[in-house]
């Protein structure tokens, strides 16, 4: 029974990546190598981020929302962007079109993120007899993360790989890239504001197991919504930039 639940949550968390790979032309052009390289770059980025967080962040005794700490975490989020830059530009890819390159990199990035952050809790937790909704919500979060990663990779490829861009769109591109890169911090701050709106007694729920207590569904919903919005915006930007060259 419980292995069944683990299987369900696993296909929710990792299924979309496999489906994306097989459904889009990525499988036809055999871009698996690119995705794997991107995943390895993500691993390195994650290690660097961990060391930076450990060095610069203070673990506060009382669980209060410190804006400066959040700002610091957001800045460290930009290391993500640096990692993506490295993956998109510095690695040697086979002769695949830009369109597919960013998709493959984004896919590999998101897959590594899911495996690193969600596989271990899933394996240990979902197999027990006890039932919680957490793992299903975690899977939905993985889906949102996939969309976000692909849109960030798209914006990244726009920024660094495309040479001729319409001048008016450049600041918008950079702004969107900034927003997508700091999305985790934005989510946390929004969740915190949500609790402030609901009253201070819910503060205690905030710092429960996954850090978000029984507001977790709302946070996941917010993440899904914002990821779809950002994906739409980056798609629009991408197609806008594609028009002059084609």
């Amino acid at each position: 029974m419980t292995l069944f639940h683990f299987f369900n949550c696993a296909i929710l968390t990792f299924g979309p990546h496999a489906v994306y790979y097989s459904a889009t032309p990525l499988s036809e052009y055999d871009t698996l190598g690119t995705s794997i390289k991107a995943a390895l770059v993500y691993l390195g980025t994650a290690l660097v981020k961990l060391v930076c967080l450990a060095t610069f962040l203070k673990v506060s005794e009382n669980d209060s929302f410190d804006p400066y700490q959040e700002l610091l975490k957001a800045l460290i989020g930009f290391i993500d962007v640096a990692g993506l830059y490295f993956a998109l530009t510095q690695l040697t890819h086979r002769n695949i079109s830009q369109n597919h390159k960013y998709q493959a990199v984004g896919l590999g990035w998101a897959f590594a993120d899911s495996v690193l952050h969600r596989l271990a809790p899933l394996w240990v937790g979902a197999r027990g007899l006890e039932f919680t909704w957490d793992f299903i919500l975690q899977g939905l979060e993985a889906n949102a993360n996939l969309v976000l990663s692909i849109s960030l990779a798209a914006l990244g490829s726009l920024m660094w790989l495309r040479k001729n861009k319409p001048k008016t769109l450049i600041p918008i591109i950079y702004a969107c890239a900034g927003i997508v890169a700091t999305m985790p911090s934005i989510t946390r701050s929004a969740a915190h504001l949500l609790f402030l709106a609901y009253g201070s007694k819910d503060h205690l729920c905030f710092y429960l197991r996954k850090g978000l207590g029984w507001h977790f569904p709302k946070v996941v919903g917010f993440e899904l919504f914002t990821s779809l919005v950002m994906a739409f915006i980056s798609w629009q930007l991408f197609s806008a930039c594609q028009r002059p060259s084609s």
């Binding site: 369900n8 489906v19 673990v59 006890e130």
Partner: protein, 565 residues
């Protein structure tokens, strides 16, 4: 140099914070396991001459159910969770006597009986009447469970917030008509305990101590002996909870205090009496005083003949105005008359009554109801001092669940000690009938109430079922040390309990309560996820490759088949 140190400290701090974060993550992962973990105590499992009694199983893995189940529902895979406060004894009796199939029973005891939890045990939340009612209900339940042969696990647990919440949930779902089974979710109770095994050669330990009397120079005869005996072990429904404060914690405490008082008198040769005093803490009390029997056989004939008389103490902790002396020799016997008169005179002075009860012993009947009967069988004059007016049945009044510290009256124990001490002292010093008080209050020989209280508290926290007390059990060692403080020539004799009684182990376990989802939920989720992935796949194919590609995906296999055919 100074600029380096803050930086080093910062590095160390960051490393510690990293380690802290890792630990937090690890514990978070650990906490994922069970909703609640509760300590539970198993019903006793024993055989008398091969006839099985008690609960015969320990492992539990069923859904929780409450008393509000719909009639006619199959409960063979359900564990009924019954708080003792709402117990309907006729219902339980019916279930057990008619041997209806049941997955298991879990009784919830009020925190009042939890001797391990000091704050809860001393809470004066309950009125006296409620306490008395609880005591009678528990006593009846114990009687029922001990003498039944139950083919499923029965456990006891203490009420606390977690388990109360679980029970409320279960009751709610039962009332709404959806019993918890594998397909509708609910709570699952899991106890993973090893298969209960027989305790091979259970050991019982008898502890004795002597206070030698003053022998006159040149007197070749052995001094007469007076024995004071109490059995210290218990037997109850849940062996891990059988503390037996009254039966026989009160007797043990009285014996220790008497040993202390007489050792004060005997320490000075001028006040040493011309009697030896023998103090015996025996084990095996509930099993027809098997320990006493073996202890007496260890004495040789001469020693036994020198015992003038023996006083056995049994349950002297919760009486008001009347104590009983039980004898097996007829009351007309001169010795018995002398002893009884001595006791009743002192009792009158102290302001209460002492009655005499005679019960003939039947040598062919193995049942030994009082400890003095073991002495009488070997022709030693003996009597039992007790608050009980009638002889208890086998395994009754042996210190079960209902025998808790709350129902003990310390002044009763103090008065009993005064009675025994004065009576024996008057006999030893030849002052019968004279109006003197040797152990008067506010003297150095006064009965020490704090001493009694501290030993009573210790006894009320220690479960003492004899087969579960090993030879080197710390409690037995503590008793031995205490006797060594007051008496001389302390010996501990280890015996093996009579084969008639066999006890089984596995008395304590941990209960895991899991909140489970039903199978239908998992299947539904699989369906939803499957359709989501299929929709995602078609959407992506249509948007990236076009609708034609999607259709061609389905058209290719048939054309291939045509080719190969």
């Amino acid at each position: 140099m100074s600029s380096k140190n803050p930086r080093e400290r910062q590095m160390l701090e960051s490393i510690y914070s990293m380690i802290a974060v890792v630990f937090i993550l690890v514990t978070c992962v650990d906490l994922c396991d069970a909703a609640t973990v509760v300590d539970v105590y198993r019903l006793i499992q024993y055989d008398i001459s091969g006839v099985p009694f008690g609960s015969r199983f320990a492992t539990l893995n069923h859904h929780a159910g409450s008393l509000h189940f719909a009639p006619g529902v199959d409960l063979s895979r359900t564990v009924l969770v019954i708080p003792v406060r709402e117990l309907n004894i006729t219902f339980v009796k019916e279930y057990i006597s008619q041997r209806k199939p049941l997955g298991g029973l879990l009784f919830l005891l009020p925190q009042m009986f939890n001797f391990g939890n000091r704050e809860a045990a001393t809470e004066g939340k309950y009125q006296i009447r409620e306490k008395e009612l609880m005591k009678t209900v528990l006593a009846e339940l114990e009687r029922l469970l001990i003498h039944a042969n139950i083919p499923y696990p029965v456990y006891f647990a203490f009420e606390d917030d977690d388990i109360d919440a679980v029970l409320a949930d279960v009751k709610r779902s039962d009332v709404s008509g959806q019993p918890a089974t594998a397909t509708t979710g609910g709570y699952k109770l899991v106890v993973s305990a090893p298969e209960p095994k027989k305790i091979a050669s259970p050991s019982i330990t008898n502890i004795q101590g002597w206070l030698p009397g003053l022998k006159a120079d040149g007197d070749p005869n052995q001094l007469p002996t007076i024995a004071i005996v109490a059995s210290y072990d218990t037997f109850g429904t849940a062996p891990a909870l059988s503390v037996g404060s009254d039966s026989n914690g009160s007797g043990v405490v009285a014996l220790l205090e008497l040993a202390r008082l007489f050792s004060l008198l005997y320490s000075n040769p001028k006040t040493r009496g011309r009697y030896n005093l023998l103090f015996g803490l025996t084990s095996g009390g509930p099993y027809n005083y098997n320990g006493t029997h073996k202890w007496l056989r260890s004495f040789d004939q001469r020693q036994r003949e020198s015992i003038d008389y023996a006083i056995c103490l049994n349950s002297i902790g919760s009486w008001d105005n009347e104590l009983w002396i039980h004898v097996s020799k007829p009351p007309e016997n001169a010795f018995i008359k002398q002893i009884f008169e001595g006791f009743s005179t002192v009792a009158e002075e102290l302001g209460f009554k002492v009655g005499l009860k005679h019960k003939k012993i039947n040598i062919s009947n193995p049942r030994v109801a009082w400890e003095h009967e073991q002495f009488s069988k070997l022709r030693v004059t003996a009597a039992t001092l007790s608050e009980l007016s009638a002889a208890p049945e086998l395994l009754e009044n042996t210190g079960g669940l209902s025998d808790s510290r709350h129902f003990i009256n310390e002044t009763a124990i103090v008065r009993s000690i005064k009675l025994v001490a004065e009576s024996i002292a008057r006999h030893v010093y030849g002052r019968q009938g004279k109006n003197i008080q040797i152990f008067a209050d506010n003297t150095s020989l006064a009965v020490n109430a704090p001493y009694i209280r501290s030993w009573l508290d210790l006894l009320s926290k220690t479960p003492r079922v004899a087969p579960f007390l090993s030879k080197n059990d710390p409690f037995v060692t503590a008793l031995k040390k205490e006797l060594e403080d007051h008496t001389r020539e302390v010996n501990a004799h280890h015996e093996v309990l009579d084969e008639m009684f066999t006890l089984y182990d596995s008395t304590k376990a941990k209960l895991n309560i899991y909140q489970v989802a039903s199978v239908t939920f998992d299947l539904l989720l699989l369906l939803v996820l499957g359709s989501y992935l299929i929709i995602l796949f078609t959407f992506l194919v249509i948007t990236t490759r076009g609708l034609d590609d999607l259709i061609s995906l389905f058209r290719r296999p048939p054309s291939r088949k045509v080719k190969t055919a």
